[in-house]
């Protein structure tokens, strides 16, 4: 029997991960050579181009959401992991404590300082600043700091009684001066050419000035200086440019038999708001034999409006009245990313950087493989 090429519906069906009440089906992709007899699924740049799409849903500096459609999970996951662990940012790496009489210990204070996200001029951060490598010889450490690999910060806070505080005041922030140490108290000390790259609006400063670092009482003091270096998230999470970088698969809701009237309202309540809409059954539909709408002219029916907003809670599968009327699934090749930047990069730039990074890695690997077989 000669092999028939798959229909459009069949191709579409192959892309769906089935979601049942307690199980999931068709988890792995099948579009690789040899899986379907007589079909050629070898990877081809042209067919990839035809099927690939990017759609942006939201693009703000601190949050971007977009869809990658027509890629394999391995590629999508590579982008996600690169965004988390391989895009460099600047963070506090060394803390030199001259005095810390606060109740928070030196080690804990240093750790807290390291986790504060900073922002600055993009040209300086991404082009001017280079990597700092700790010299193997300990004695040379002090000669390894340059304006292009180290950013110096200072934090000097002393808590005192506030003489102007009203009698009977109980709020420590009014009773004392500098009772709370915030991220905005950190001072940037430019050296060398850093003035050129990090001045005015481009100054290196905490993204969120209201991060509470420590609490002080009168007589207590924090006096320290810090060195910032470039690093990547695989080294320490503080270097990660994203708060979250995640993806989920596009949900698919297929209403196979009509859901009408009160059931339709209940059905809509099984999903997050906006996923399921209610429409009136038209005269034409009601006149159609075998459609399931016969005699229901003017009644409300459930229609899928926006499956992307669904959380795939499977609530609708728990109710007997919807048994066999609805099919849930996810599209295996439709990845909805959510990237939240911590402020050093624009959210969309993090993704572009991840693509560039993967390209570079692939080129490096190619070179290695060529060397290996030579």
């Amino acid at each position: 029997m000669p092999h028939k090429p798959p229909t459009k519906e069949e191709l579409e069906r192959r892309k769906i991960v089935g979601i049942n009440e307690e199980t999931i089906t068709d988890v792995s992709s099948t579009d690789f050579p040899g899986h379907y007899p007589g079909e050629d699924h070898s990877w081809d740049i042209e067919s990839f181009r035809r099927g690939f799409r990017i759609e942006f849903h939201q693009n703000d500096p601190f949050e971007a959401s977009f869809s990658l459609i027509g890629v394999d999970a391995s590629i999508a996951n590579a982008f996600r992991r690169i965004m988390i662990a391989d895009i460099p940012t600047l963070a506090i790496e060394t803390v030199f404590i001259n005095n810390n009489t606060s109740v928070i210990q030196d080690e804990v204070l240093s750790h807290r300082l390291g986790l504060i996200p900073f922002k600055g001029g993009h040209e300086g951060l991404h082009k001017f600043l280079k990597w700092w490598r700790k010299p193997t010889d300990e004695a040379l450490v002090n000669n390894s700091y340059y304006d292009y690999n180290t950013v110096s910060l200072r934090l000097e806070v002393q808590c005192e009684h506030n003489d102007k505080a009203a009698a009977g005041e109980t709020d420590p922030t009014k009773l004392y001066k500098h009772a709370h140490v915030y991220a905005r108290d950190i001072e940037f000390c430019p050296v060398g050419r850093q003035d050129k790259y990090f001045s005015g609006a481009d100054i290196i400063a905490p993204v969120n000035p209201d991060i509470l670092i420590a609490k002080l009482r009168p007589g207590q003091e924090i006096s320290l200086s810090m060195h910032m270096h470039k690093g990547v998230g695989s080294d320490h999470a503080k270097f990660s440019p994203v708060a979250t970088a995640s993806y989920r698969l596009m949900p698919v809701i297929k209403i196979e038999r009509p859901i009408l009237g009160r059931d339709a309202e209940k059905f809509a309540r099984c999903f997050p708001r906006g996923v399921i809409g209610l429409e009136k059954v038209t005269k034409k539909e009601a006149a159609q034999k075998g459609s399931g709408y016969e005699g229901h002219d003017g009644e409300l029916k459930a229609v899928v409006v926006d499956p992307m907003r669904d959380t795939v809670s499977r609530e609708c599968l728990r109710h007997d009245e919807f048994k066999g009327k609805v099919k849930l699934g996810r599209r295996r090749d439709h990845f909805i990313y959510l990237v939240e930047s911590t402020g050093q990069w624009e959210s969309d730039a993090i993704f572009l950087e991840a693509v560039a990074h993967l390209k570079k890695r692939a080129a490096d690997l190619e070179k290695q493989v060529i060397n290996m077989v030579r």
Binding site: A91, I92, E93, T94, V95, F96, I97, N98, N99, N100, T101, D106, E107, S110, H111, L113, G114, L115, G219, M226, H236, K238
Partner: protein, 84 residues
């Protein structure tokens, strides 16, 4: 022995035998900070948190509130930490 009579033992001499009769108080201390800051060390009062200057051999007592618990000040040296 009452509280006021108590004398701080020094590292050498007196601790070994009871027959010394307190004659070892002039023995030099193991570490002498006197040369660094003109003989005065500063301590923090445990009760009123005031800064108490103490000469060598002076009574361990806060001049302001009379408390006998004094704390050493933190080192003046810089301490380096990794922010991890």
């Amino acid at each position: 022995m009452s509280r006021e009579e108590y004398q701080v033992p020094t590292g050498s001499g007196s601790a070994t035998g009871g027959g010394g009769g307190g004659g070892s108080f002039n023995a030099p201390a193991a570490r002498d900070y006197a040369g660094e800051s003109g003989g005065t060390m500063y301590y923090m009062c445990g009760d009123c948190a005031v800064r108490v200057p103490l000469e060598k051999g002076a009574a361990i007592r806060c001049q302001k509130c009379g408390a006998r618990v004094l704390y050493k000040e933190r080192t003046k040296r810089m301490v380096q930490f990794e922010a991890r």
